[in-house]
Amino acid sequence: MASNDFSAELVTTQAKRTTRPIWMEPPSPLAQVSKALILAAIAVIMLFPFVYVIAVSFSSYNDAVRGGLILWPKNPTLDAYRAVLEGGVVLRALQVSVGLTLFGTLAKMVATIMLAYGLSKPNVPGSRIVLFIALGSLLFSPGIIPNYLLVKELRLLDTYSALILPGLIGAFNLVILRNFFMNIPRELLEAARIDGASDWQILWQITLPLSKAVLAVVALFYGVGIWNSFFNAILYLNDTSKWPIQVVLRQYVLQGSAIPTVVDPGQPPPPVQTLQMAILVIATVPILLVYPFLQKYFTKGVLTGAIKG
């Protein structure tokens, strides 16, 4: 089914939208069909797990227990989501993750913007050395145990700061922002300075409004990074009530812990499978929502980074 759609699309779009260079031989039908089949197979392999998990998470008790190929819930229900969220732990983890992502992104943005602005100003003694120090951190990592000992010495264990502070400024993001700030016309900044504007005012009233797009991109990537971060919570948080959604997801889906749920008396509880998939979908949805933006900027970012080499 899917493969037919795909090859049909391939053929029609080729006829309609694209022109083959004159020197290129007309492709053989066999080559075209096999290419279409390969592409369709790749698409199915990449998408099937997502489609299957989302469909089962909305399936009714009977459908889920019967199992088999479920690509669309026949009797859609929110039972699994209700049971999981009312159980408390998942809702709590979700709140933690949302809060961490919002505050963490804000903190990282403030820190990165300040340093990037400071380093973008020309003729500041010592700013080259600071930039060098920042970039040097890309070449090596101190290692997991020294990092852990530092967080412990700073008495940050079991605090949310431990999840944000150790990665507060990404050197790569710093360079992106600094380069962008440096490309803002000097005359604009000089004019403001002559009018007596302080650095705070210039940053707030000129630099930031001119950099909205690049700021949005950096914030988006910081946010996705925090949402996805998992191991630092394992490492630094012993208090399970502070766990973010990724850790809870692992606990229930990969370690098979019993999921605390609240179900109506007299009703069969939703099967474990659908509960697990509901948690999985909850952890995935925010990424899916921002994916269109991510893909757009990600492609550009990788290209500017890679093509130079």
Partner: protein, 321 residues
């Protein structure tokens, strides 16, 4: 900068420049003093969280105990490093790391290249765009989500086992099978990251001059000869570059993917150097020894990437740095 200060000489006497052309350093710093309020917090961050922990590696030379701390733990010289080569668990972790990395090099390294060549050969922009959107998707998911998704497909209660069950066959738990673990992680890596490499290869492919293809076609070169003589040489530098980066991370196959599945298949199959350091050090309390392993790994990685870069330059390719 100077204009602004000439324009307001009376405002703040400290800011005015003497008649000399060159300012001395102290004056330059004083003139820019406010900007250091922006720079210093960030500098402190990098020194505190990126450089200070490097010093923590000294415990590799200690019989470190958290109760005694850095200062009072006994110094034991190179004993921890001597222990490394005879530690059976370390040797397992090293073997697994090298085996997995070789499999990744053979299978996951060329995968995006093949996909990029396939996509590049498709004339329709729309099909190309749709395919790219599909293959990039898992790159943005955390490993927890990826492994959980795979568990729902390949696990003991997953999709494949369910299908087998409805056919009256025994379930097949691929996720908990130690013998299948290494091929499995390679497939997971390809599934998650094939899109990332594809972007870079595709971009490199578009930089090849179309006239080369035309000239070759006029000379009678068919599809495969054009691929071999124009396309592949045209993106050779990118292939070499990515290979260098790959070799540089030879001893770090990644952490979370193995950490998450170690429980399912056991350390014999899934322990790699990174997880070894964590479980032996932070979980097992053998701090000094685990730090020594981490330190050796870090140094060897740096040597590898510098070496690969040097070789690439020797054979006439551009290096990373």
């Amino acid at each position: 900068m100077r204009i602004s200060q000439k324009a307001q000489p009376g405002l703040s006497p400290a800011l005015t420049i003497p008649a000399r052309k060159k300012m001395n350093l102290r004056q330059a710093i004083w003139r820019e003093r406010w900007i250091y309020l922006f720079i210093i917090p960030g500098l402190i961050y990098f020194l505190l969280f990126q450089y200070l922990p490097l010093l923590g590696n000294v415990i590799a030379f200690q019989d470190y105990s958290p109760f005694l701390g850095f200062r009072d733990s006994p110094w034991i010289g190179l004993d921890n490093f001597r222990k490394i080569v005879t530690d059976p668990d370390f040797l397992i972790a090293l073997r697994n790391t090298i085996q997995i990395e070789l499999l990744q090099l053979i299978f996951s390294f060329p995968a995006p290249l093949l996909l990029a060549l396939l996509l590049h050969s498709i004339l329709s922009d729309r099909v190309k765009r749709v395919m790219q959107t599909i293959v990039y998707l898992p790159h943005f998911m955390s490993w927890v989500i990826i492994i959980s998704l795979w568990e729902q497909i390949f696990g003991g209660a997953g999709f494949i086992s369910q299908i087998l069950r409805t056919q009256g066959l025994p379930p097949l738990d691929i996720m908990h099978n130690a013998a299948l673990f290494k091929p499995l992680v390679v497939m997971q890596s390809i599934w998650k990251e094939v899109g990332w490499g594809t972007i870079i290869f595709l971009a490199a492919l578009t930089t090849i001059d179309a006239q080369l293809y035309e000239a070759a076609a006029l000379d009678g070169a068919k599809g495969f000869r054009r691929l071999w003589h124009i396309t592949l040489p045209g993106i050779r530098h990118i292939i070499v570059l990515l290979l260098i980066l790959r070799l540089g991370s030879m001893l770090s196959v990644g952490f979370e993917q193995y950490f998450l599945q170690r429980g399912a298949v056991g350390p014999e199959a899934a322990e790699v150097l990174d997880t070894f350091v964590y479980f032996r050090g932070i979980q097992g309390g053998d701090w000094g020894f685990a730090t020594a392993v981490g330190l050796v790994r870090g140094v060897v990685s740096t040597v590898l990437i510098v070496g690969a870069n040097w070789i690439a330059k020797r054979v006439g390719e551009e290096g990373v740095f």
